[in-house]
Amino acid sequence: MDLPRKTRVPHEAGAPLLQVEDVTVAYVPATTNGSTTMLRAGEQKSEERYALHDVSFEIGGGQRVAVIGPNGAGKSTLFKVIAGTLRPSQGTIHIFGHGAEEHICVAYVPQRNQIDWSFPVTVEDVVMMGRVGQIGLFRHPRRRDWEIVRHSLERVNGRHLADKQIGELSGGQQQRVFIARALAQQAELLLLDEPFTGLDIPSHEAIFNILDMLDREGVTVMVATHDLNLAAEQFEQVMLLNKEVVAFGPPPTVLTTENLVTAYGGQMHVLGGSEGNVVLADTCCAGEEEMATKG
């Protein structure tokens, strides 16, 4: 089944899928109230820090990009800026030549710990949420929306999960359902935030099968991960991020000792050897805690 995509603004001919120029996200670190405040465009404060600094890159259609970097490198921030839900302090994002807040063809799949899994919705309800923008105000889902929802679930092998409450799913199933929601959005750029964290190997494979399918369909996928092995083996492009873009390109050119040390500093040990480098440990992460609790 091939369904036409609907976009709010027409794509500009010849414009790259994603163009990020000089993006900086500044914030004022913990003040008296213990929370951080993002600075609005044009604001300057002496004690500002950067979540992202002068990030520029371009991604063409149909690529699969891993975004790696230590904790606090700004991976989630970058994704939120690209998705148009966080306005950068400086710089611009263009998607098919249009501003980040105009287009509706980007889908963001949040980290699983950002979701309230006890929320009273079924899998089908969650996937249908991806359609809400296009259904429009005061309207019910039409037959075509239901078709898209079912089709999206089929594509992630999740048809049998449709009527389950989301809290009943395994971690891998939860991730697949949220990818189905992104498919129902008919997004042309998918942003997956730490999708592999806390998942077992079969679940990894299931997700890569879906990513391979998206590859064949020309959908661009950016995946934030702290798993360097996965990044090296499964992605054609790797972006090494630590507030700035340290390196961006095919894995062999990016994952060099020099780059890794620049990005990770003391968080990583790299052993040089005749057969190439051996990365001992990326000593993060939030993911480890989650894995421990998942047991």
Binding site: R8, T31, T32, N33, G34, S35, T37, K80, A83, G84, T85, E101, I104, V106, A107, Y108, P110, I115, D116, F119, P120, V121, T122, D125, V126, M128, M129, G130, V132, G133, I135, L137, F138, Q165, R181, Q185
Partner: protein, 277 residues
């Protein structure tokens, strides 16, 4: 048995109280599902207290109470947003400051008039048996508007409650929707004011919805069950108040609380009681 049910209704004020209690039970419980799911309980309680000066001013000027309450409710909703938006105080602190400050203002204003204690009691705990025909119409019309808007914006409210970032990437008008929910909350508080009073509105917003969340797994059924629990609490509360001679607002709330306790203990699969069998 039938006479036991119908006898009280021969009094006009009991009949009006019954209709008002059931209507308020339904409206509060349906909106309450969003309050529970979005973790807005503290905000709801605060909003109920902050409308007191508005109600008192309307009362002193002889306006409909709903008008004063509505204006104050909207000012508060916007005020909390503005105060916490500056980043100098946390949101719950901002709410706390506005909540206590305006409640004090309301009580102070009320203390300037003669019948202070009686009036204050009515505002705090409701005056269900004093519901006039005009009050009843206000409750039914405003309550109907709230239910209608919840139905119209159902899927958008669902998305902003479940995943705000998704709502933003879908380019939904998220700020408008969040303020609309606050306005609906303010209107609902106005509707419930006369039935349960400021001090107990929280219970009608949260308790039936919390009970329903233990008994259901989908939002539409959670809303329906919550509405049924709210309506039953209202009805039983009024009869209980009549036969046991207790204040009606607290009676309604006590019934809702009892239903929650039963759900907490005996909800199928999830109840506490099953853990020990």
């Amino acid at each position: 048995m039938l006479a036991w049910l119908t006898d009280p209704l021969s009094y006009g004020f009991i009949l009006r109280a019954l209709i008002a209690a059931v209507a308020v039970g339904i409206v509060c419980s349906v909106l309450g599902t969003y309050i529970v799911l979005r973790g807005m309980a503290f905000l709801g309680d605060a909003l109920a207290h902050t409308i007191l000066p508005g109600v008192v001013i309307a009362f002193l000027l002889g306006w409909p109470l709903a008008v004063g309450a509505l204006i104050m409710g909207l000012l508060t909703a916007l005020g909390i947003g503005a105060l916490s938006g500056q980043g100098m105080v946390k949101e719950d602190t901002a709410i706390g400051i506005i909540f206590a400050g305006s409640f004090a203002l309301g009580v102070a204003l009320l203390s300037t008039v003669g019948n202070y204690t009686v009036d204050l009691t009515h505002f705090l705990f409701g005056n269900l048996l004093g519901v006039s025909t005009a009050d009843l119409w206000t409750i039914l019309v405003l309550g109907g508007v709230v239910l209608l808007l919840i139905a119209l914006f159902y899927k958008e409210f669902l998305v902003i409650s479940f995943d705000l970032i998704l709502a933003q990437t879908l380019r939904l008008p998220t700020t408008f929707l969040r303020y609309l929910l606050l306005v609906l909350l303010a209107v609902t508080i106005v509707v419930a004011l006369q039935v349960v009073g400021i001090a107990l509105i929280m219970a009608m917003l949260v308790t039936p919805a919390a009970s329903a969340s233990l008994l259901t797994r989908r939002l539409p059924s959670m809303m329906a069950v919550s509405a049924i629990i709210g309506a039953i609490s209202g009805a039983i509360g009024v009869y209980g108040s009549y036969y046991l001679n207790v204040a009606s607002g607290p009676a309604v709330v006590l019934v809702a609380t009892l239903i929650f306790a039963l759900a907490f203990l005996f909800a199928p699969e999830r109840g506490i009681a099953w853990r020990y069998t």
